[in-house]
Amino acid sequence: MARWCFGGPALAAALALVLATGQAVACARPQGWTGGARIVGELWTAWWRSKPAAIPVGAHFSIRFHLCGPPVGRVGVRGWMPDHRHGMNYRPAVTLNGLSGTAEGLMFHMPGRWQLILDVRGAAGREKLTAETVLE
């Protein structure tokens, strides 16, 4: 079972900025999706969902994502355990098609607090979109 929450101080600051400048990107759930979660950033907003839907401990999973915002050049996907200061033992392969993409080969190899991080880059800049979960 996973409990998701988004943000933390950095994202709260980004959100405040977005609200102040009115730049938040409206971003509807992608066509045909049920479920999934949203990460709101300053330049981009991401919808993403995992397969399987509940991220397992110690088994490979993949994600699909869709971004709203300016054109994207590259997306990196990684996992991070902030309490232990380590990432994943596997390097996922990302396939990007316009603003949509998939990442295969992720694995969260222990229970505890994990961050799923999308590193998004484009001509408009670069941004780290972070979602957080506690795996049991």
């Binding site: 232990h84 200061r85 596997y90 996922p92 080969g105 694995m107």
Partner: protein, 369 residues
């Protein structure tokens, strides 16, 4: 301390339950076309005890992995032979995970001149020329041994794997306790010793043990630095997982190579995506803890004699050394003497109630013609 032994918070209860049920569901290995086949299991058992698979003619797998000693000879070396329990649940094989399948792991001693060293052509010649072995090969694989030495050699690894996959440990006092908890059976829970309950709490709580020793097998199947020295001799260190990944990438015997029987490569994600990092240096595979009371000495080089030594190790671990790598899971626990005794009492309940019961006969299979 003050809480009665058998009252668990909802979170503690969830954490206990995820270490079962035992045994977990499993299926044949798709990369091995004879996985689960009785004729291959019988062939693998015979091969395991056959010293002709060594260059010297004197060493068999059982020399270093004697079944009546929980499959390990108990001798300390720079790397000791792990016991061979519950291998079918492994993701990686060897202390450094240099192999991604059980069949590839079984080829390693046959290739290594310091162990058995018969090699692909020596093994293939033996199987083709010996009536018993070629008959058993035909039964297991459905065809007579062919002309390709490399394939016959790999098939021996696969028959050995079919045999070793059958070695799943039995039920333990911990499993009875865990299942009693799952069905809310207070009497069943009460049979579990109080010291083991206290040790279990340490294991799941302050000890942080279950981050790595996770799930029904008590391992997350990955690698970590548990603060165990990894000198081979003065001035030479064992690179651990770092060397393992580099070996894996050079090996022809992996899930990405031509010997995988699964055209879909459905189990190859780990091999495709595994990532080499500097922090892999000095990491070793997290061992499963089932039957741990039977498998002394402990750690990759057998450097700790008893479970009490292991409890003391985690209690007095050198944090400075560990944190250099960046990971912050293990802490110096400073357990009291009584807490160390409790932790050991818990670890002992991970051992089968009737150990050694399933151990194999050391004979080959019935005569094959």
């Amino acid at each position: 301390m003050s809480a009665p032994a058998l009252e668990f918070t909802a979170e503690e209860e969830r954490r206990i339950l995820r270490h079962g049920p035992w045994p977990p569901a499993s299926r044949p290995d798709p990369s091995n076309r004879v996985s689960g086949k009785p004729a291959a299991i019988a062939f693998g058992r015979a091969l395991f005890f056959d010293p002709r698979l060594s260059f010297s003619g004197a060493v068999s797998c059982a020399t270093c992995h004697p079944p009546d000693r929980a499959w390990t000879d108990g001798l300390p070396r720079s790397r000791g032979p792990p016991s061979l329990f519950n291998l079918r649940f492994n993701r990686w094989f060897g202390w450094d995970g240099a192999q991604d399948t059980l069949w590839a792991q079984n080829l390693r001693p046959l290739l290594d001149g310091r162990e058995m060293g018969v090699g692909p052509s020596g093994a293939a010649r033996l199987v083709r020329s010996d009536r018993q072995l070629s008959c058993s090969y035909r039964r297991a694989f459905g065809v007579a041994p062919g002309a390709d030495d490399a394939w016959i050699f790999v098939d021996l690894g696969k028959a050995l794997a079919a045999f070793l996959e059958t070695q799943v440990t039995g039920r333990t006092p911990f499993d009875d306790f865990r299942d009693a908890l799952a069905r809310n059976d207070a009497a069943g829970q009460a049979r579990y010793p109080a010291a083991a309950v206290r040790g279990l709490r340490l294991f799941l709580g302050r000890g942080n043990c279950a981050f790595c020793h996770f799930g029904p097998t008590f391992t997350n199947g990955e690698f970590a630095d548990a603060g165990v020295p990894h000198f081979i001799k003065p001035g030479r260190v064992d690179p651990g997982r770092h060397g393992g990944i580099r070996k894996l990438r050079r090996s022809p015997y992996t899930l990405l190579g031509r010997f995988n029987d699964d055209a879909q490569r459905s189990t190859a994600a780990k091999t495709r995506y595994v990532r080499l990092r500097q922090s892999n240096f000095g990491e070793f595979r997290v061992p499963g803890l089932r039957n741990v009371a039977l498998t002394a000495p402990y750690m990759h080089a057998g450097s700790l004699e008893t479970l009490a030594d292991v409890a003391r190790h985690y209690s007095t671990i050198d944090e400075e050394r560990l944190h250099a790598g960046g990971e912050r899971i293990l802490r110096r626990l400073d357990l009291s003497a009584r807490e160390q005794v409790d932790l050991v009492a818990f670890l002992k309940t991970l051992t089968e109630k009737t150990p050694l019961h399933e151990y194999v006969e050391k004979t080959g299979n019935a005569l094959c013609r």
